[in-house]
Symmetry: C2
DNA sequence: CTGAAAGCGCTTACAG
DNA sequence: CTGAAAGCGCTTACAG
């Protein structure tokens, strides 16, 4: 064992072989020190660690992956980069994965064909997949099944229309039910819907939430829920809200309260009603959805249902990790994240 | 060479060795086919490709990285996940990298110590780094220098206060200069600043932009630029804008036009002035910054300076790639992305 | 035109 | 307590 000369500060150690040579030990022993194995002379541990700390040497992760170590990598497949909430959820997921030592590999439906998802995931040796955003391609079902066969677990963070798929998503029905009760408590008896006209499962769940609240009070949903016969086109959310306000005002039954698809529509509606001489919440109450910045910043602040992006991302990541930990690939598990109503100033007592 | 039996559809081929065995050839030949090398019998090419296509086999990337192939990986280091524009720029960067075959590895200053950035990048074998968001830690300078020594190129997508560092960022001074000229064209002679009170280099550049516009018309900036002696605290941008409006209204000199730090402040200011009985743009003109959704959706639409997030991300990625391509690590390069004024309805002729 | 062998960097039985 | 050797999956000189 030759004494190591006091080295220059900028010495670069790139491999365990170099490190071993430098400290006058074998690669095996150096590796043992690096991995904290017992049965190495204290003197040698010290000698190795001193150099490691000084040079910042870290073993090449790729050789270990090659040897069969897990890649510590999770694929995140986005519906799109263009949508604000999707990107926000992505950020949350990436962050949570990082905290438990996983690196996220990100891909979009915009770049890759849905049919290639599986191949991409396998090629990258990802240990699991998280789907973020609204994925609609039914081909994805087959892909997910193929992944399961390959022992790769998955989870969707938004509704995906397939019984066999794992989904963690916000309980929107619950959110709307809370909104409904809140408005009923305030004495409202006619509730207008804005932007919730579609027939998608997600939107139907929202309507069902309002209906439940009404039925719980013995009210007739068919009579209490008011929709526009002729909703305007929806290019800009705010403009849509403004125009909805105008049309509701002109409609035969003008409700005293509204629930909306999102905060921007709610904001536009507030503006619209104000322009028509109505005051919020004195004359009209309005509830948003998502609890975006705008809901807190608007004046009056908008009562809204929180999107629970953090909780959803956390639950999705946790569920994926639990599959990974158990080495069990699950399917068909549905988890609903409870909704939360954030009460601000845009809702008030119904006018007598 | 043994004839391959018609295989079951779900055969799994995981390595070139398995593939070679399956088609009755050597790993070397299979590898040649996989990499499109010439000098393989057409019959054998066909035989291999047929199985590759059916099974979706892709060679393990990690073994190639181990052999010295580039990792096709770029580190993206964020200041924070909490800021909207940072996350947006991240999305743009990730997307652009993906398009040219690079995978982004994402890390935040929130999780990692600035002092560990270099180590993280080296450990992950990233080929380069993109810094996104406002990084303030001066320790980062040393890290970047260390990266350069290791042959790893970098670029910042936001101002970073170090001459030796590569930066691609929006020409904010130009944006404000355009805003200034626009307002002067409309006859305004007193321009109020909202949210641009700080003494940071970025904010000083903004003020300089307005000053240039004024000086180009022979006006005295000291007289034309109006600031609040007592700006309110800035917790919420919208609330800040509203309160600024109130204080300017009460101040000795009430400007006829305003430039603001961002669209939300502009929005709040519009609300604030409206609440005071002033109309936009009849009585007051207001210019935002960033061209966020809210600027387009507001009513009136907000004249604003586009943040050019896409152009900035594109230029940053391009610059990093060019370094990678040339194998040359550069330093001290500053690139300004030209600003663009988006004229909407919140600006109009100065009242006589 | 094809195959056997070497080698990328690491860790872990195995042998001492 | 330590080291020489094997092996992860791939590609590429080298030899035929």
């Amino acid at each position: 064992v030759k004494k190591s000369v006091k080295p220059p500060e900028n010495i670069a150690i790139r491999t365990t072989a170099e490190l071993a040579h430098y400290v006058g030990l074998s690669r095996a022993t150096v590796s043992r020190v690096l991995n904290g194995h017992s049965g190495v002379k204290a003197k040698n541990i010290k000698r190795v660690m001193e150099v490691v700390e000084r040079t910042g040497f870290t073993p090449d992760p790729y050789s270990n992956i090659l040897r069969g170590k897990r890649s510590a990598t999770i694929a995140v497949y986005l519906s799109s980069f263009k949508q604000q909430p999707v990107v926000q959820k992505l950020a949350e997921v990436v962050q949570r994965l990082a905290k438990v030592g996983y690196t996220a590999l990100i891909e979009t439906a915009e770049n890759t064909n849905h049919a290639e998802v599986t191949r991409w995931i396998k090629r990258m040796r990802a240990e699991g997949v998280i789907f973020v955003g609204q994925h609609v391609d039914p081909l994805l079902s087959a892909q997910v099944r193929e992944l399961a066969l390959a022992g790769i677990p998955h989870v969707f963070t938004d509704n995906f229309d397939d019984r066999k798929v794992n989904v963690v998503t916000l309980d929107r029905a619950m959110g709307l039910e809370l909104a409904g009760h809140h408005l009923l408590d305030l004495g409202h008896r006619h509730i207008g819907l804005m932007g919730i006209d579609g027939k998608t499962p997600v939107e139907l769940a929202r309507v069902a939430g309002v209906r439940h609240a009404l039925e719980a009070r013995g009210l007739d949903p068919a009579q209490a829920i008011v929709t526009l016969e002729n909703p305007p086109p929806r290019d800009s959310n705010m403009a849509y809200g403004r125009e909805c306000a105008r049309r509701f005002r002109a409609a035969p039954t003008m409700p005293t309260a509204f629930v909306t698809l999102n905060d921007e529509i709610a904001f536009g509606a507030m503006e619209g009603f104000r322009a028509l001489g109505l005051q919020v919440p004195r004359d009209v109450s309005i509830i948003g959805f998502n609890n975006q910045d705008i809901a807190a910043s608007a004046s009056p602040g908008i009562t809204t249902i929180d999107a629970e992006i953090e909780a959803t991302a956390a639950a999705a990541v946790d569920y994926l990790l639990s599959q990974l930990l158990k080495g069990a690939v699950k399917s068909g598990r549905k988890q609903l994240i409870p909704s939360r109503l954030v009460i601000r100033e845009s809702t008030g007592p119904a006018r007598a």
